[in-house]
């Protein structure tokens, strides 16, 4: 009976899992991929999983990618489900990105600036030609730069910036002239939407948290929509920086902060136009993006959407999806989204049965009316 296929199955689940494991491993003649290989050679995937899982642990993210066969949303989900069980023993101090060990730092609004432009490892100016030599693990293509090119570059940030130890953000230059709004500094501890449910209107702390762990693709499209007129903000990339920052905590028994490790983050400061209002003179406004790992696309999209969601606060008309806080925050989480979309695979035959009965009843009555109409017309 067909119904056995749908209902039932302890055995079916076990068999499905066994099949999945076999498929995951693939051809046993091909060597099994290691966690270290994923961590070292698929770094951007690892970074994305850590960002969307809100959990900075390259080794576990690599494991999740292996377990999920490279399905990055599934991997982020695995990592989140692990993260949720972890005890919280301290809250870190805010990271200080001025003190970042920079591997890349660019500004699109000043040709040169204190700290310099540091191109760093970027795909921006690569030609997207498949490098068939990579396929064999072969030496680099003829036109690729000699290894000595790297040695000519100052490692870990521009020397002047590194020498100073701190590199002020580009927005500080504008702030010096009073041309950009002040950074709003909140005294209250930031909220945490993984502990307390989101309520609307949501403050910027929670909005930024939601965006930082939000789906890169969704935020990219929303950010893109603001550039195409759906909630435009006239953005400029004030600065993007990628590098290592220290994580510090304040153990209460010590009375001073201690460093517990370093993480790599990508930060983006957008500088946006603002015509001014009754209360504020014309000035530039800010959109902010920050994510774990090297994720420029994500950080930029986040900064665009962050600024778009400030429309109401800045007295702009809220007309576009990217400006609608509740819309963005309710739909940017890909773990929630994939769950609810994919749950349509689960059986719904009880509900569908009631729909069947309803539609049959409605059709019976419609037919009865129609035949009554025909009789009346005939008479």
């Amino acid at each position: 009976m067909a119904y056995v296929a749908v209902k039932g199955g302890e055995r079916a689940i076990d068999a499905a899992h066994a099949w999945l494991a076999e498929e995951r491993r693939g051809d046993p003649d091909v060597p099994e991929i290691t966690i270290a290989q994923i961590g070292e050679q698929l770094g951007r995937a690892v970074d994305r999983v850590m960002a969307e899982a809100s959990c900075y642990d390259p080794a576990l993210a690599s494991l999740a990618i292996k377990q999920a066969q490279g399905d990055l949303i599934e991997a982020a989900f695995l990592l989140r489900a692990y993260r949720t069980t972890l005890p919280r023993f301290a809250a870190a101090r805010p990271i200080d990105t001025d003190a970042m060990q920079i591997s890349r730092r660019i500004s699109a609004i000043y040709k040169d600036l204190p700290g310099g432009q540091v191109l760093g490892p970027t795909y921006d100016y690569t030609h997207r030609l498949l490098d068939f030599r990579l396929a064999d693990g072969a030496p680099p293509a003829d036109d690729s730069p000699p290894a000595s090119a790297l040695q000519d570059m100052p490692k870990n940030g521009a020397e002047e910036g590194a020498a100073a130890g701190r590199m002020k953000p580009v927005s500080a230059i504008l702030a010096h002239e009073g041309l950009i709004e002040e950074d709003d500094v909140a005294d209250a501890p930031p909220g945490d939407l993984t502990r307390e449910p989101l309520a609307f209107p949501a403050g910027r702390d929670l909005r930024l948290q939601a965006l930082a762990r939000g789906d890169e693709g969704f935020l990219l499209s929303l950010g893109y929509s603001t550039q195409r007129g759906w909630g435009g903000t006239h953005p400029f990339v004030g600065e993007i920086r990628v590098g290592e920052v220290a994580i510090e905590i304040d153990p209460p028994e010590l009375g001073f902060p201690i460093e517990i490790g370093d993480i790599i983050v990508t930060e983006c400061q957008m500088v946006n136009q603002f015509k001014g209002s009754k209360a504020a003179p014309p000035q530039f406004t800010r959109g902010y993006g920050l994510c774990f790992g090297h994720g420029e696309r994500k950080a930029m999209a986040m900064a665009l959407v962050d600024r778009a969601m400030r429309a109401e606060e800045l007295g702009e008309e809220v007309i576009a999806p990217a400006q609608t806080i509740e819309f963005v925050l309710s739909h940017c989480d890909n773990i929630e989204a994939t769950g609810f979309v994919e749950h349509l695979k689960l059986p719904h035959y009880v509900d569908f049965q009631s729909e069947l009965e309803t539609i049959r009843r409605l059709r019976r009555e419609a037919e009865a009316f129609a035949s009554q109409d025909r009789r009346e017309a005939a008479e």
Binding site: G9, A81, F200, H343, L344, H348, Y349, V350, L362, E365
Partner: protein
């Protein structure tokens, strides 16, 4: 499973969920926000129900899990295994033997009794969501008891189709105060909630809401005096046990229009057949 706490969730989280549950029981039908956690099962698979069950489960509980009324559907099997593994509690398929019943889309046919708890998996806790997509606006309507929008929707259905077109997740008024989504149970099951001796707890994980219907609470399916609420079920009787009053699944048996109707509640159906065989 020694790396995980009893029933998976840590005790602080369980306490947080139980506080939300207490509030929900105190204000029947009112949606209480709670700090829903990521669970090792996906959103949409019952994360809300699982968190509620995990928070109320004790070592002596007997757990039953059903999906579409059946104990042997894949998702029910998976959730039952999850608790058997993480909590080590006894499980059963018998409605009468269970102290906690987690369900998706059905209320068992066998009458519930005092002391039993039914935990519902809820996809969309907001009954107004299809009429008012903003949760902020909807909660204001709840605060004001302003359910005109829903009445207009029912009225328009009747004016246009002669009937209310909602066949599952049919909205109910709880304790004459809050409009509540009973979760996607068929409207057929709605009357089982009214003055039920059992405690009914609803968990929506992705939407981070918990609500409850305490024992013996009035639960009325929304209707009009001249268009009273009507039950819908397939008019057939069960091909396996002959039941005439249970909710039936329609089984397509061939591609020539062949159909067979059987109880959606597998435990109810099996018990009736056992009784018949004994006689």
């Amino acid at each position: 499973m020694s790396f995980y706490n009893f029933a998976y969730l840590d005790e602080q989280t369980k306490r947080m969920v139980r506080r939300a549950l207490l509030k929900a029981v105190a204000v029947p039908g009112h949606q209480v926000p709670f700090g829903s956690r990521e669970m090792p099962l996906p959103y949409g698979w019952g994360t809300g129900g699982i968190q509620v069950t995990a928070s109320i489960l004790g070592r002596n509980d007997v757990l039953k899990v059903i999906d579409q009324g059946a104990d042997d559907t894949t998702n029910a099997v998976s959730i039952r295994r999850f608790f058997a593994r993480t909590a080590g509690v006894a499980t059963t398929t018998r409605t009468a033997e269970a102290s906690v019943i987690q369900t998706r889309h059905r209320i068992p046919e066998t009458a519930l009794r005092e002391g039993q708890i039914v935990v519902y998996q809820v996809p969309l806790p907001e009954p107004l969501s299809r009429l008012e997509p903003s949760r902020a606006a909807a909660s204001e309507m709840h605060a004001l008891g302003d359910y005109g929008l829903m009445h207009v929707k029912l009225y328009e259905d009747i004016a246009r189709l002669g009937h209310v077109s909602i066949s599952y997740d049919y909205p109910v008024m709880v304790n004459r105060r809050y409009l509540m989504a009973p979760s996607p149970i068929p409207a057929f099951d709605n009357p089982k909630l009214n003055r039920s001796p059992a405690l009914h707890l609803f968990g929506a994980g992705r939407e981070k809401r918990i609500y409850a219907v305490p024992p013996y609470t009035e639960v009325r399916s929304l209707d009009f005096e001249d268009h009273p609420f009507r039950l819908t079920r397939a008019p057939q009787s069960c091909a396996l046990c002959g039941a005439r009053t249970s909710y039936l699944d329609e089984i397509v048996t061939d591609d020539m229009g062949g159909r067979m109707f059987i109880c959606s509640d597998t435990d109810y159906c099996a018990e009736r057949r056992e009784k018949d065989a004994a006689e």
